[in-house]
């Protein structure tokens, strides 16, 4: 009976005098909101798993996609995401410390810990924005085939990835982006890629060291590298140049990978953003002494639950998007 019954209750059990499970109304509703939100996130992550299982042989390898660290050049897989994870766990810790200080009614300590939590959240959202920008901008560029498969390029001598600019042959052309201001007002087109299909194809043909890497994963767990003859053969399937990623195209591989990246990290980032806003509101309430007058800091505790939940979700996103 110890699990549910509240003992030593002076007030009557009915008429709202009693707290079921010894949790206040607000706290319990926060828990059930978190539960429903957890189901939404698991819906997203499981849909990701579904699509990944569907294309298990050709899914992009996350280590090869997320290799950048701000202010550093080179190939550093995972380091930046690990840093982001650490920032979020750290801001979770300052949040628990705020809750703990709230229990002891230390207004000054709560203020400081809430401030640090907000700063941690802002650093995380900023990092995510940077990660998005890098992902959208793209890295090496690729070709897309008629069937929507991605062909990437590798240097046969070194085994390193080749960017389109490393080998493409510029062909003089007067073709410019058509904008609505220069013609019929209702017709325009997207920005051109830095090289067009003919230039990339000519570049591959004239450089013997360029090989195509397909999406398919071989037995060693690496993307399949075609021979020079197969490369020239495969080149005929290409229909367009892809640079960077958006909801329709993705130079890193399967388009679904980019779609899920935007939806899952975007949905999570939105949670962090709202969490920061709520934390700022609570921070000002603490500064103004609202909870001091109220006699308890339960509001900090409830907001803390939401903030930890955001951290909890990130732990899963980190595993299923970047590690597994």
């Amino acid at each position: 009976m110890d699990t549910t019954i509240t003992n030593n209750q002076a007030t009557p059990v009915w008429n709202g005098g009693n707290k079921p499970l010894e949790a206040s109304y607000g706290k319990m509703m926060m828990w059930f909101f978190i539960l429903s939100d957890a189901l939404t996130f698991s819906g997203f992550l499981v849909a990701y798993g579904f699509s990944r299982f569907k294309f298990i042989e050709s899914w992009p390898i996350a280590d090869e996609v997320f290799t950048h660290v701000p202010f550093f050049h080179g190939n550093y897989p995972m380091y930046y995401v690990a840093f982001m994870t650490f920032i979020l766990i750290m801001s979770s810790v300052t949040m628990v410390l705020a809750v703990d200080a709230g229990h002891k009614m230390k207004q000054k300590a709560v203020t400081w810990y809430m401030f640090l939590t907000v700063i941690g959240g802002i650093i995380f959202v900023g990092s995510q924005a940077w990660e998005w920008a890098t992902f959208i901008k793209g890295d090496f560029g690729a070709l897309e085939t008629k069937g929507g498969r991605i062909l990437q390029f590798v240097d046969a001598n070194t085994g390193d990835r080749l960017a389109l600019r490393d080998f493409s042959t510029p062909i003089a052309s007067e073709r410019v982006q058509h904008e609505s201001k220069n013609g019929i007002w209702f017709s325009s087109e997207k920005a051109h890629t830095s090289f067009n299909l003919a230039e990339v194809v000519a570049g591959v043909k004239s450089n013997d060291n360029v090989l195509i890497r397909t999406e398919m994963i071989n037995e060693e767990g690496e993307k399949t590298l075609l021979s020079r003859a197969a490369t020239l053969d495969k080149l005929q399937d290409a229909v367009q140049v892809v640079e960077g990623a958006n909801l329709i195209q993705n130079e890193y591989g399967s388009r679904l990978f980019a779609d899920f990246f935007f939806f899952i990290t975007g949905f999570h980032g939105f949670h962090v953003f709202t969490g920061v806003l709520i934390n700022i509101i609570i921070f000002f309430n603490v500064v103004l002494g609202t909870y001091e007058r109220r006699g308890h800091y339960e509001m900090v505790e409830k907001v803390g639950l939401y903030w930890h939940f955001v951290d909890l979700v990130w732990v899963f996103v980190f595993t299923f998007f970047y590690l597994v």
Binding site: F32, S42, D100, H103, G147, E298
Partner: protein
């Protein structure tokens, strides 16, 4: 408010003196786990990627188990589920665990089925 904090983790193996100390202890533990995950993700030891258990690489098993361990300590100590009544804890945790386990089972099996269709059926998608 006014709950007593349970200060032992690892089934009583480690007991902290105060709640603040426990928070730092849990942070240390979570950081170590994250560091292990990142190190394994970068090194990718051949032993763990070549062998699999129940159709999944050992490395991925380790990642998923470590993630669940992290989730446990975030929920139990940071969200102080450890200090709540068992009824509240169960109603939140088990509801989630059952529904998510069911959802992943159904959708992952279905995804695998479609993979087989693409592979062995008469659907051409690689062109």
């Amino acid at each position: 408010m006014g709950h007593e904090h349970k200060l032992s983790i690892f089934r009583g193996l480690v007991t902290f003196k105060s709640n603040t100390q426990k928070i730092w202890g849990v942070l240390l533990f979570l950081s170590i786990i994250t560091a292990i995950e990142v190190a394994l993700g970068i090194i990718k030891p051949a032993v763990l990627t070549d062998n699999s258990f129940l159709a999944m690489k050992l490395l991925n098993w380790i990642f998923i188990i470590l993630t669940l361990v992290k989730a446990y300590y975030i929920a139990w100590d940071f969200m102080h589920l450890r200090d709540e009544k068992a009824g509240l804890r169960r109603s939140v945790v088990w509801t989630g665990v059952f529904l998510i386990a069911y959802l992943s089972f159904i959708l992952l099996v279905e995804g695998n089925y479609i993979y087989d269709i693409y592979k062995d059926g008469f659907v051409k998608w690689e062109f």
